[in-house]
């Protein structure tokens, strides 16, 4: 992977800078920001020196809450795609190179998860089991990995026919060795690009669940803040504007990152549904 290529991609640079900002925000908020649950007498107040982003219907400071929400979004956006990348790569490589049962299972699961939309699965799971943040991340990982797996599988199948792999095979190298030594490194670009796009989706779905009221109620979520803002759109726009900008910027950053990586690593952009 050439770092110079990456730094030449404006999208990658802009995406990384925004994302680093969000990450720093999340860390700083955990260390230094005030209590996001602290209520006050000043309810539904517009942006002011004391409350730069205004306050909500319980007099809570929107700035503090927006900063605090960064960690929630990032946790799901990082954990779910990474778990999916690990499982998807392992299953995709073994399925594509070795074939057999793993391959059959992968294909069936892929079909299955394509038939029931991811958001619907997450919504129903959250409704029945409570929308704990890690549960949401886990459900998303479970719906993400088959798509990673399918891409990796396709790569592995085409790599299987390549001369260096056949050479290695004819010299008696075991499959595991060929996969880990030769194939793993070659499927990294596809996995990296797919994973960064999934991160954007994960952030969006977490916010969507929280918006619908089935998210984790013990953490501050930008989606939940937007749901709280809904009844006050006429009198307290700031309640919707600031968490919305934060959420949109984070997702945009992840998509920029994915675009930049796809360009730099020469991975063909694919429409994801």
């Amino acid at each position: 992977m050439s770092l110079r290529h990456l730094l030449h991609s404006r999208r990658f640079v802009v995406g990384s800078v925004i994302l680093l900002g969000v990450l720093t925000t999340a860390i700083l908020a955990a260390v230094a920001a005030g209590d996001p649950f602290q209520t006050s007498e000043t309810i539904l107040a517009g942006p002011s020196r004391a409350h730069p982003f205004g306050t909500d219907e319980l007099g809570r400071d929107i700035l503090t809450r927006t900063l605090d929400g960064a960690a929630t979004t990032l946790k799901v956006a990082i954990v779910a795609p990474l778990v999916a990348a690990a499982i998807g790569t392992a299953v995709g490589l073994s399925g594509g190179y070795v074939g057999g049962l793993a391959d059959e299972i992968l294909l069936k699961l892929m079909e299955f998860t394509l038939v029931v939309p991811r958001f619907l699965i997450a919504l129903v799971a959250a409704a029945f089991f409570g929308g704990h943040l890690w549960l949401v991340a886990l459900v998303l990982a479970a719906t993400f990995w088959p798509s990673t797996g399918r891409l990796v599988r396709a790569e592995a199948i085409s790599l299987r026919e390549r001369e260096f792999v056949e050479a290695s095979n004819s010299m008696g190298a075991p499959s595991f060795w060929i996969i880990s030594r030769h194939l793993l490194g070659l499927v990294v670009p596809v996995v990296v690009v797919n994973t960064s796009f999934q991160a954007g989706q994960a952030a969006l779905i977490e916010a969507g669940l929280a918006f619908l009221g089935v998210g984790d109620r013990n953490v501050i979520s930008w989606g939940a803040m937007l749901a709280e803002a809904q009844p006050y759109l006429g009198i307290a726009r700031w309640m919707s504007v600031f968490p919305g900008i934060a959420l949109a910027l984070t997702i945009l950053a992840l998509n920029l990152l994915g675009d930049g990586l796809a360009d730099a690593l020469h991975v063909r952009w694919r429409a994801r549904i």
């Binding site: 958001f119 799971a125 409704a127 619908l212 089935v214 949109a248 998509n255 429409a271 549904i273």
Partner: protein
Amino acid sequence: MESPRGSFAVFLVRRLISGVLLLVAVATATFVLISLAPGDTAQVFAGQAGADPEYLELIRERLQLDRPLPYQVGSYLESVAQGDLGFSLIQGRPVRDAIFSRLPASLLLAGAALVLSAFLGITFGVIAAARRGGALDASISVFSLVAYSLPVFWLGQLLVALFAVRLRWLPAGGMRSADDPGGIVDLVRHLVLPATTFSLLLAALLVRVTRTATAEALGEDYVTTARAKGASERRVLLSHALPNALRPVVTVLTGYLGIILTGAVLVETVFVWPGLGRLLYDSVLSRDTPMLAGLLLFSATLVLLANLLADVIYRVLDPKTRFR
């Protein structure tokens, strides 16, 4: 050689069979998920409406909840196969009736959004491909990337705050006004904001797909040939490159046709649109289990039908397509 028509029929039958098998898998998974949920399964299945003991007993009996899980799954599948998706105590009617009564509103919103986004997406995608590398291409692709990253529910809120609350041009939600029910103008006025919100994300995706596919097609030999024969740039673009770029566009459009129900849940919630998405939302809030299970299955059916439609359209677009 098989005749093309024959092979297509075989293909369709095969797809239908695998579709039915997938639906059985979805129904099974749904039921297992429900039985894993904390609490008494009969209670969970009745929904949190405070079902009376007699009704709970009826559910236990019909789903054979006293027997091992495979039996329970079997009896659930049996009633689903008979078209019985259960009864929603919260809606006060059978799940199937509730779904069909919401379908028209959903189809109206989804149809409007699909048409609008297909128009915007393909138009701007082709323009970007024709001017690729230029300033117009760059601005279209930045704009579409931003639009693609906007959470629909937030976009909806912004549009409501601007056009409904501040400017008072359009209604903030609902499908009809109380004072003028039935008027077509009234309906369209209610449709504008949710359809725009819904279509922007899809249009953004379509711009990217169309641009990539058209740009790729423009590099093909037949385009060079057409140019060499003196075809105008406009003709090359619209009669040679675009038709060959439509396949991925169809994939995305039909893909959305299938998930329109879930895609709409957020939009319908913001705009209080009385469609299936709103029904899904209400069912989640009230833990209306039979309704949720029914909607999951219905949604899976829609996806399968949309995939089938995509295959038929591929066939029309390109008669050479081989069905496997």
